[in-house]
Symmetry: D2
Subunit: 378 residues, 4 copies
């Protein structure tokens, strides 16, 4: 297959997601980086361009200018896909610009800083949903898809309760004042948006719950805080949930739990059993039946039922695949879709996922402020 040509927005020196996206995109040889606006800073932009073998002519400190330039190239040469990995405040504007110019769009979450800001992107995407995807990396783990398939097939019966906990410790102290670029922009309202922790990781928990259960969160009761004195955005919080189908839940997200790495764990409990998945052991799910037998199902076609999830594996059972591979699954699925290839379409997170995250965060913020239950806008 002729690799899909990609332009990257963001991902300069010090970026977390930039190198991850580049590695994920290249892993299967289906996507090739050809252009980039990696940083608004001239020297920094150049540095990343050189490191990634992107020619100076196809690199710019100005994302919009780059898109214009690419759009002017011959059809078989110009970038086809724009991947946005810059800080949050850049997302909506660049996403809209990319769609307007006819590029396919792969956008890191969030879609925008808030629903209002997202509006134009949503409108532009409406007529071409197949050309837009959101980089919810955790949706790229094959066992997450297997879990969803098992639940959809009735493995745990009627859903009664969901639990999600996403705890990190990297903001346990004021890293934003100690030269940590990631911490700096993520705790800054002008660049991150109205929420810190919930916008950053709470939405992963929300998306996972909704994806696995197949139903939206209907109502939230939240209690969020900036636990570390002086911080302007939430860095910790808990939420009670009511799912659209009536199940109840609890969701915790925190970035101030010292020593926690990236512990994202989710459990769904039903009338016939339960299902658990934990991001730090992503190749396993634990399915418990009504008698209590807890079966660990691993990333291995012999144990899996979901064709797309099976097809997403690159290695035999017992050979761990990880986070980069998960994101690569999204790139691969997108590349196949853009090329019209792939018998077993791996469902990609679309713009609706981006929107539902924004709605969730807004409800959480309002609930916490008003100390009452708030319905999530759908």
């Amino acid at each position: 297959m002729n690799p899909v040509r990609m332009a990257m927005i963001g991902g300069g020196p010090g970026s977390f997601m930039g190198p991850v996206h580049r590695r994920a995109a290249s892993l299967d040889g289906l996507v090739r980086l050809v252009a980039g606006a990696f940083s608004p800073d001239e020297a920094r932009n150049r540095r990343t361009a050189e490191e990634t073998d992107v020619p100076a002519a196809r690199s710019s400190t100005d994302a919009i200018a780059l898109l214009d330039r690419e759009a002017a190239l011959p059809e078989d040469e110009r970038a086809e896909l724009v991947s946005i990995v810059a800080p949050n405040h850049v997302h909506a504007e660049v996403a809209a610009a990319a769609l307007k110019r006819g590029f396919a769009l792969f956008c890191e979450k969030p879609l925008a800083r808030d629903i209002a800001e997202a509006r134009l992107v949503v409108e532009l995407a409406a007529s071409q949903p197949e050309r837009v995807a959101m980089a919810y990396t955790y949706q790229g783990y094959p066992m997450v898809h297997e879990a969803r398939a098992l639940i959809a097939a009735g493995a745990i019966g009627d859903l009664r309760r969901v639990s999600a906990s996403y705890t990190q410790g990297w903001l346990a102290e004021r890293a934003e004042q100690q030269g940590n670029a990631q911490a700096a922009w993520r705790t800054d309202p002008t660049r991150s948006g109205a929420s810190g922790c919930f916008g950053d990781i709470g939405v992963h928990a929300q998306t996972m719950i909704e994806f696995l259960s197949g139903e939206p969160i209907a109502e939230v009761m939240a209690d969020i805080q900036a636990a570390v004195p002086g911080r302007r955005l939430d860095d910790d919080g808990g939420v009670l949930l009511r799912m659209a189908g009536g199940a109840r839940g609890a969701l915790v997200a925190s970035q101030v739990c010292a020593g926690e790495q990236n512990r994202f764990e989710v459990a769904l409990f039903g009338s016939k059993g339960s299902l658990r998945w934990a991001q730090e052991q992503p190749s396993q799910i634990i399915l418990t039946d009504a008698a209590g037998r807890a079966t660990t199902i691993s990333a291995n076609p012999a144990m899996m039922t979901d064709p797309a999830a099976r097809a997403a594996l690159r290695l035999p059972g017992g050979h761990p695949e990880g986070y980069i591979e998960a994101l690569a699954n999204l790139y691969r699925a997108f590349a196949w879709r853009l090329r019209g290839i792939g018998e077993r379409p791996f469902p990609l997170p679309g713009i609706d996922r981006g929107l539902s995250s924004l709605a969730f965060v807004e409800a959480v913020l309002e609930s916490s402020r008003t100390r009452g239950w708030i319905a999530v806008k759908s």
Copy 2:
């Protein structure tokens, strides 16, 4: 040591806690069952008396009558300690009667069906706190004490977040209509009190959080339900917490999560690390430091810091002790206290624990009803 003579109230055929208490009491040879009102039913009471070698003359279907009779026996013969393991509605009345007659009291939780009902017991206990203990079995696990000691010594820094989840599945269906005696009384408001799940297991989570952190829960926001149609008491729920010291928390309790056995897990997160304990692996705690190193500390004096917890172990490291041993630790500590023995007093749950659980449950019920935050009465 001359064993402490015990009278048991409740614990007849079909009882869960009766045999557990009898085994726990006898494990170390420090307590001896000498009398009992095991069941209001004549035949059933007799059956348990025979099985437990309690002479007919010291057994009765009427708890108060039994206490009267015991009180009339010579001082060196009569029961010294009354253990209450009957359904909840019996607790307060019998507890008060026991205290009035000069018996030491070991009472299964709850202390009463509500705070009002508890009042008389509390008054009677006020002048003799050392002669009253509550059977919060999970407070008998040595590693729970070790955890508390570590936290008190600063191992996790300032507390920021607590998480407790207690999930069971034994009420996933309407077991109360299928001949399950336990299910029948526990789902019946007249015998169980105003709460089902939260009164039964939610309070274990509340007590554990307060014990480990050393501070009370100040405020709750709850969402409880009877998930199984037709049930009159809550069988599932979630609670957001604010601790007196400012930390936030989430607490889940459910008895309708099919396949869950007795999964009671708690985690405390601080500014320097975290600590985890899970009831189904009670001999271990996991202490994580700020760098993320997760150290499993096992029930073994070589790894422990708390003298009372170390002294409570009966076996060398690696030889599992369990639930009966945990309860036996409470009995042993109580027997030692009553005899004035024991250099390393193992702290016993007192009547204040019983009261704080009742206050917690009342706050949870009110919060869930009003859909708002409620302060817990202290």
Copy 3:
């Protein structure tokens, strides 16, 4: 049930197994300690007698004298069961004396220091096998019986490989020179026998393999050593095995692996799956099917197939039972057998288990000495 009256030989101050046996015997109220020769030392013997409420008249520093005295008591008063928990060199003589005098015998392993010494006991037991049991405590765990039942029912297909590893660290240094009484006699050939580690814990691994697989070890190739300089008996070793049915295996036993507590783990691999059990988590087995699905089966009747194993549980699923309960299962089964009670006979380790352990140890010693394969005498 009228409790079985027990005399204990050994178990004085400092004994590990003495208190364990007393607790296990009393746990279910089916066995009562009435007599004891706890220690050859007068003061020490008296101390334990007092602590255990055994009257001076039924206590002695001389085991044989005690048995004589007990035998002379009226039939409904004298001890019925003799439990031997003294150091190894005492076992055979006392066991023979007990059988000769008509007592039932419950003997800690080993049966004797070697096969020759065991001969008389074996002869005396031949006519009354139902009145003799060996205290292989690990055979008292319900999940071990469940595992055996699953394997016997074909759950793992034809056996191909067995692995057992039993590692401890308590002899990592020369504890025998630091006042550790346990270490002193266990590393002393005159009291322990010709083997240290293999006689002490290697035989647990051997017994477990044979019990679970249902077939004897046919041949061994061993490499044992005294890893700690100056020690006279083996404290570490490895063995290659050939099972009677053709499967191969490896068995490791060590007491010098610093930091290991009592890590006794066994795995059996077959043509259709595998089964794992670990003593430090004794209430679980993991059954893996041919596709790789690994199912954790817990001590809970709802998950178990073996009636005797189910009946041996005292608590609902999720309430841990441990090592004392395991030994108590052997006492209970023995008490029921002596009283002719119990519909679901829990198979007790008999004298044949004691013999096969002795044969195994002799083969291991000879193999290690000759550096060649040795057949195990059956």
Copy 4:
């Protein structure tokens, strides 16, 4: 950095390692596939060339011819590195040819089918050891290097015992007769060499033990078999070990344990503690101290001591990296070495590793045949 140009030998349709190597090589953008002899079959070779974007002119069905052709290209165009992923019988001949023609060599294990066959490669490599590496993928896991560093720094004291177990189930039945190409050549002596299971996976266990302990295996006592009837090479076996430093060990390797995926686990026990690593959870090691505290150390610079291991991580703690990343670490280290870049040289497995594996396998085969201990040639 200007990517290193690579020619691949083997890795055509159906190959396991081919795609893994290609992904690993491209992951960091430091190595670029430019030529290949993927398969001796014309159509199959062409198919892989097309899928990998290798021009027809730089692809061939004949490995030697391809090397000749590449060698004739201009210096800045021709392949610099030859990666051999073909079946075993091809390794030595192609490796020698590559070295003779001046290519750097990255060779899948084994180096050859036996020591004799390896001789020429060893001679050619002697003068340029820096230009030869062996693809022992498991040596690419950062935590394996961290483990080695900890052990070298004395974390477990003096080594006393090693345990390694590598169990798979994919040959539990005669897959070689069911169209499984991998199974076909790996069970065929002419293509695989004199050993099946031990040559394939036993050597990973041997290499890991030697790497972690820092000392060679001196002597072996083996018992290997073809457990599945009709198979010509060993598919299962156990080995007792004596390390050069005196520690003892046991090593199990099997491919017939149904349901086992790729369970490769190793433990080293010392006088002060122990260390465990398991391939299926490769980002963690467990270090146990003499008191029994078991600390899980994760792939996270904050917890690690080895600079090269820390530098090998691509993601923050808690974001799993897997098998492809491990192999990519070897490629990256090799690319950096060839380009003279990299402050923290990640030690690459060299030709000595290949040789020591061959010596180990020969000793295992001879020991099993003679049923006696055999010294491993060094």
